[in-house]
């Protein structure tokens, strides 16, 4: 069937609400408005206000309430409209969701799923354009998912809900309207492993989420130059699938990491460090990174485009690591 990423996500929520009475959705404007990004459109009519709960603008309050409800035996899906607003709930995410199992000596797990939009590219300027999933991937106790494909938008949620621990799902805003074919029987997918989205032999482009289309576009462009790029979609930023990263490095010996987060202290730095630690002698060139420029994301279109990773920048970085002989 043909559908959009948004519809795949909605189908995943509908299935979860149908399958498990303990599942409910809460967040700002998820009900009557239909979701800030229309992901939950129609769910209020189908499941009613008890399970599709509009919240006040109280990110710390309703995220904390989601954690409490999870402790109380429910399986909440908490939607934070964007990652930018999740900063108001960081206390609950970092000090409670991530720590309670450990602090309680294994007594209290927190089976919550927190979904939020991330990323820039829509001329919303700094306060609506952050990509902070790499930050949250720093925190032990959390699992960080970044669905980039229709299959993952459709399939990651149920697996996340079955996980006994807190899972954060980052949905890049530029992906919601991406349309494509999805198998009629598409269902839950694993949330442990990275996936090779394009096989290649000359250079590995490692990315996730909103920059997967960028990486694939760069691979197409490189192909016209005779450079055969492999594209690895990390899918999960915590825990990282080290084996998949090392496998692609062993295959191509050249790496470009593409990450919409900032370069300093970002997830791209972590990936690069792991490659250096475990596969240094497999490398034929230093690991390259294409990240966002270190500025708050600006409003004007040309400035914003210059700040974010682009096909051109990824192509240039890949050519650089492949070298003149490549």
């Amino acid at each position: 069937m043909k559908l959009t990423y948004r519809e795949a996500m909605r189908a995943a929520m509908r299935e979860a609400l149908q399958r498990d009475e303990r599942v409910f959705l809460m967040g700002e404007d998820v009900g009557r408005y239909g979701g800030g990004f229309a992901v939950s459109l129609g769910l209020l009519e189908e499941f009613g206000p008890r399970r599709i709960r509009d919240t006040p603008l109280s990110e710390a309050g309703f995220v904390g309430a989601g954690i409490g409800a999870a402790l109380g035996g429910m399986r909440p899906i908490v939607e934070i409209m964007t990652v930018n607003f999740s900063l108001l709930a960081l206390d609950q995410i970092v000090n409670n969701a991530a720590t309670l199992l450990h602090m309680s000596g294994g007594q209290f797990n927190v089976p919550i799923v927190i979904r939020m939009t991330t990323g820039g590219g829509r001329q919303l300027a700094a306060q609506h354009s952050h990509s902070l999933e790499g930050w949250l991937a720093h925190i032990p106790g959390l699992r960080i998912l970044t669905p980039a494909t229709l299959e993952d938008a459709r399939g990651m949620l149920w697996t996340a809900l079955e996980d006994p621990d807190p899972v954060l799902i980052f949905e890049h805003g530029s992906l919601y309207n991406v349309a494509g074919e999805l198998a009629d029987d598409a269902g839950p997918v694993d949330i442990d492993r990275a996936a090779v989205r394009r096989e290649g032999a000359d250079v590995s482009i490692i990315t996730y989420g909103g920059t997967l289309p960028t990486a694939l576009g760069a691979a197409d462009a490189l192909a016209t130059d005779g450079i055969d790029a492999e594209v690895l979609d990390l899918r999960t930023l915590r825990p990282l699938d080290d084996a998949a990263v090392l496998a692609t490095v062993a295959k191509t010996h050249r790496v470009v990491v593409v990450d919409e987060g900032w370069r300093s202290g970002g997830i791209s730095a972590e990936i690069s460090a792991r490659i250096t630690e475990s596969a240094f002698y497999d490398l034929d060139a230093p690991v390259a990174r294409v990240c966002s420029e270190e500025v708050p994301v600006p409003y004007a279109r040309h400035l914003e485009q210059a700040a974010l990773p682009s096909v051109e920048r990824v192509v240039a970085a890949a050519r650089e690591v492949v070298g003149p002989g490549g």
Partner: protein, 333 residues
């Protein structure tokens, strides 16, 4: 409570009132032992004791049912003890031992116990309030008549999470009882130096929550107010709020030089020591003989000494276990 009301309460059920006295003495003596053990470097980290405030948790816990939930703060040894967590497990936790209620991961500020539905031990001021709202939401969605009780200090009312939680609880009509332990100081900052409106019950009323202030040094008054509130919450009357006016006799923590309050003020409050007030009332009514008082103290001392011995005999969690409980352990399919 007036003298007459206290006398009537004692006459109605002297055994129960003696039980309340005993519970307060348990907390007092446990906390005194903690201070001694801290000085002896057996307990480390931050240590916040509840001495002076015992009537609050004692009165509230007394009216809860076994499957109700409790969320408390970092000054929660007494709450855990009164909720039914064993003194042994609490003391072993403070020793950082594997036999502790959190296997040495939580320490003094983060006591947890699944069996008694004791959800911490939350050391971020006001961080526990949203959790209590969520626990109550889970009960409401599941159609259970359980109550969640959330303790926090008056310092928490300056935090955004307090206001967000009040609003959510009232908006969704949740079965939660908020207990504000107003001991007048957020660490060293006096209430009137941090709040434009110092009537805390009034703030809760602003969220359309039934709220009233209670003498937190009078365990019988606390218990009566808590019973009224818990009964109402359980009956579906929505969230309730108690402001319990109390005072901590000791420093905020073991690191506090107490430069911010006058000795005379502390002494004035100590004249209203909740344990001494109740003991005197029982004696006046002829319901506590010198022998009974002595036996009560002796029994409490035995429990505390046993807890210390248990903790002393405890073992260290093997370092190989360090990274357990970051994620749940799954059994192989």
């Amino acid at each position: 409570m007036t003298e007459e009301e206290t006398a009537a309460a004692i006459a109605r059920d002297p055994e129960h009132v003696r039980h309340l006295l005993r519970q307060m003495v348990r907390v007092r003596r446990f906390e005194e032992a903690c201070v001694e053990l801290y000085s002896a470097t057996k307990i480390r980290g931050f240590l916040h004791v509840y001495i002076g405030e015992e009537a609050v948790a004692t009165g509230v816990m007394s009216v809860l049912a076994p499957d109700d939930a409790v969320v408390a703060t970092y000054r929660e040894h007494g709450h855990a003890l009164l909720r039914g967590v064993s003194a042994n497990a609490i003391m072993a936790e403070m020793y950082g031992h594997a036999e502790g209620c959190c296997r040495g991961r939580g320490g003094s500020m983060h006591l947890f116990d699944a069996a008694t539905r004791f959800y911490g031990g939350n050391a971020i001021v006001a961080g526990g309030l949203p959790l209590a709202v969520g626990l109550a939401l889970a009960d409401k969605l599941s159609g259970r008549d359980r109550v969640t009780v959330c303790f926090f200090g008056e310092g928490a009312v300056a935090e955004g999470e307090f206001h967000e939680s009040m609003n959510l609880a009232a908006l969704w009509d949740l079965p939660v009882l908020f207990c504000c332990e107003n001991n007048l100081y957020a660490m060293g900052t006096a209430l009137e130096r941090s709040e434009s409106q110092t009537d805390i019950a009034l703030k809760a009323s602003g969220y359309a929550i039934a709220a009233w202030a209670v003498d937190g040094m009078d365990v019988l008054a606390v218990e009566e107010a808590a019973r009224r509130a818990v009964d109402a919450v359980r009956a579906g009357a929505g969230p309730h709020f108690l402001e319990l006016r109390t005072y901590r006799f000791r420093a905020h923590s073991m690191f506090d030089p107490e430069r911010y309050r006058e000795k005379a003020e502390v002494e004035r409050w100590m004249e209203r020591d909740p344990i001494e007030l109740l003991r005197a009332a029982l004696e006046t009514q002829g319901r506590l003989s010198a022998d009974e008082w002595s036996a009560l103290q002796h029994e409490v001392e035995e429990e505390v000494q046993a807890a210390i011995a248990f903790a002393e005999a405890g073992t260290l969690e093997p370092v190989e276990e360090l990274t357990r409980f970051v994620y749940s352990e799954r059994t192989a399919p």
